[in-house]
């Protein structure tokens, strides 16, 4: 292959990988926050679907992608609120409510799509926005600085969420409430309030993640368009060990492996493509196998908080 071609491939792999990483990054950062507060939200898939639909629908009606994204965020927040009411206020088993939420999100998005759109329709979604100057740098420009604004936001969100977690009083409470809720409670911070806030923010990000698929990537909505991305995002939270940087690493690793296998297929290396499709999943597991160091999962993860109940 010619030099130029290889260069093009490299650019392609990186650019595609970054594009693929966005939804995982957004959803996983949200789930990280939720889990840090002690709630295991298995309903991510459903929230993303709702975000995907409302992002598409509002853009479809108003022709304004920004309004679409806003709608997706609101939809996500409402789904997060629902999860909060069921799993925090009513202390429901989080595994079940999560799966319930997934089904609900899948159903509602599909239903609304049928009732209010009625078939495949396309929108003028977000276009890539080349950052002036930076975007013109050869090689690096097309790789990193020619994406849609959600992409830039998602990557910006990594340092932001790190800062919020480790440099603000609210972040301190979040880190504490998932680990030792009774400590937070006895210091006069409401465990319920913290968990509601985190679930809602997590929902917003998941909604936005879903909207990325419709408003930014495909410019259309279709039944179950997320195709299991919500669950991958949850897995990536564990990969990232509840740290924004770890989640960034996980999302990029997974997506780069994915875009790499797409290119391998397109360039016609001859072997069962299923093996290629498996690659990102295998890579992720292997990467976690060889990772080390003490892990501190949120000790109260999945446990509804009850006052005065020991350990």
């Amino acid at each position: 292959m010619t030099d130029f071609m290889e260069q093009g491939i490299l650019i392609g792999i990186i650019a595609t990988g970054i594009r693929l990483a966005i939804p995982y990054l957004l959803a996983a950062l949200g789930e990280m926050l939720t889990q840090r507060s002690g709630v295991f939200n298995l309903g991510l898939e459903g929230i993303m679907l709702m975000g995907a639909f409302f992002g598409f629908y509002v853009t479809f009606v108003t022709h304004s992608p920004m309004l679409g994204l806003l709608a997706a965020i609101v939809a996500g927040a409402l789904m997060g609120l629902l999860m909060a009411f069921v799993s925090v206020t009513l202390q429901a088993e989080q595994g079940i409510s999560g799966i319930g939420l997934s089904m609900l999100g899948w159903g509602l998005s599909g239903l609304f799509f049928r009732l209010y759109v009625g078939g495949i329709q396309t929108i003028e979604g977000l276009k890539p926005w080349k950052i002036p100057v930076l975007g013109d740098i050869p090689i690096l420009g097309p790789m990193f600085f020619n994406h849609n604004i959600i992409a830039y936001f998602a990557f910006l969100l990594v340092p932001i969420s790190w800062f919020v977690l480790f440099r603000t009083t609210w972040g301190l409470s979040v880190r504490a409430v998932g680990m030792t809720p009774q400590a937070v409670d006895t210091l006069g911070v409401s465990v319920t309030k913290m968990r509601y806030q985190c679930l809602i923010i997590g929902g917003m990000l998941a909604g936005l993640a879903g909207a990325t698929l419709t408003v930014a990537n495909t410019h259309m909505f279709a039944d179950n368009i997320t195709a299991g991305r919500g669950f991958i995002a949850i897995a990536l939270v564990y990969f990232g060990r509840w740290s924004p940087w770890g989640i960034l690493a996980g999302s990029l690793l997974f997506s780069m492996a994915d875009s790499f296998q797409l290119w391998v297929q397109v360039l016609g290396i001859n072997f069962p493509y299923e093996l290629a499709v498996m690659l990102p999943y295998i890579v992720t597991i292997v990467a976690l196998m060889i990772s080390f160091g003490r892990v501190w999962p949120p000790a109260a993860l999945g446990k509804p908080y009850e006052r005065g109940v020991r350990g």
Binding site: R167, R175, T180, T186, G188, G308, R310
Partner: protein
Amino acid sequence: MSSKINHLEMRDIVKRFPGVLSNDHVSIDIAAGEVLALLGENGAGKTTLMNVLYGLYQPDEGSILINGEAVHIESPRSAIDKGIGMVHQHFMLVPTLTVCENVALGMPSDKGALLDLEPVARKIVEIGATYGVSVNPNACVWQLSVGEQQRVEIIKALYRGADLLIMDEPTAVLTPQEAQDLISLLKIMAKQGRSVIIISHKLNEVMEVSDKVVVLRDGKKVGAVNTRSTNPEELARMMVGRDSKMITREHREYQGECVLCVEDLCVTNNMGTPALRSISLGVRPGEILGIAGVSGNGQKEFAEAISGLRPVDAGKILLSGEEITNCSPKKIIDKGLGYVPEDRLHVGTIPSFNIWENLLLKDHANAPFAKCGFLNASLIRTHSETLVSEYDIKTPDLETATGKLSGGNIQRLILAREITRQPKVLVAAYPTRGLDIGAAEYVHEMLLNASMAGMGIILISEELDEVQKLSDRVAVFFDGRIMDVLPAEAADEKTLGLLMAGLCITKESISDNGMEGKEIG
């Protein structure tokens, strides 16, 4: 923050839990500058009453008055705002956070939303200096010894500048020195016009620090006296409802082989620093070897290494002649070692398992309780019933989840299990920590009887009188070393105290680096 608390009263407080009446029309009152002691057996309702005062529980009946006017404390937040602080019986610390962060938690920051730990750290050092409760503000809590964690809890309360400080068994895990410091601290606070409510099972402390004593039994108030006009015996009688019997132990001499020998044992702790620096010890059949020392000087690691829960870096452990160094816990148990662990709730038992399941924790797979892989339910049941009555473990039935039992009863269950297995050696770590007088006496009796029956016993404890009363010999741990091994009669409070502090008459050298050694431990 509202006006200062000059007088606080809890009137006819009633608090019910499913199946339990934890507080039955209890009334207490306390004025500024007073120290009120709450006494009572395990499960008497002391913590519940204080949780009501701190806004954690809402009383089913009764009212709370501050400076004469009724107040409604609907949450810890409003308790804190009203100037009430509480140091809880079970630590309320976040292990992954630093001391600083734990203290700053829930407090407004000078920089608004941004975290600003500098001043917090400074104030922590300040408080440490004034009250003699020093901890490294930047250490992570999970790295701290129990004693240090207790200090953090106290600092948390002081930091919030409470007028009224509730202390739920603060000295349960403190060494004599630490306890002394705390007592004087409380006195200072009282002088400053603060009020203190202290819960304790240690009557001598109560006598020393308190102005008034209230005694609870089964949720009812059974007595309220001025400390000056009472004495420990009376208090004990009020609590237990009978005279407490004095344990006496005639002194014996031991010859012959050690049933457990430890030679040059070296072990690393969770932080990867040395916890034991070549320890050598031995206990003979029927002997009780006391191990005194400030918690965090290697006792925990020592017990874990012997029972196979912690890898041994160097040295040998022999159980009745056979080497068990780095064997699996299973093997060591089978070879006849019993262990009453420090964390009785999460290591000694499985909280969600019921009584009989926990009684069988170590024997579930052994005949006659299991035949070819199947549990023999009927036999297990009868066996458990006999144990429950024999060690009178207070429980509704055998199906009750062990986590629901009071600390005393959980400890009885563990002892019942460990002793009836008749191990050659029994390691008991802090067996009476947090237990009321009655329960503590009972545990002591059990240990003595076991030793009479020829069991070698290693008793790890911070309670000097406990160590003195029970042990034949006392080894003092400091910074992973044995300062000295004394015969019982030589082990008086003063000597032990010095040795535990790392000071000793002969070896000046250690005394210098002593203190920082303590910091690491």
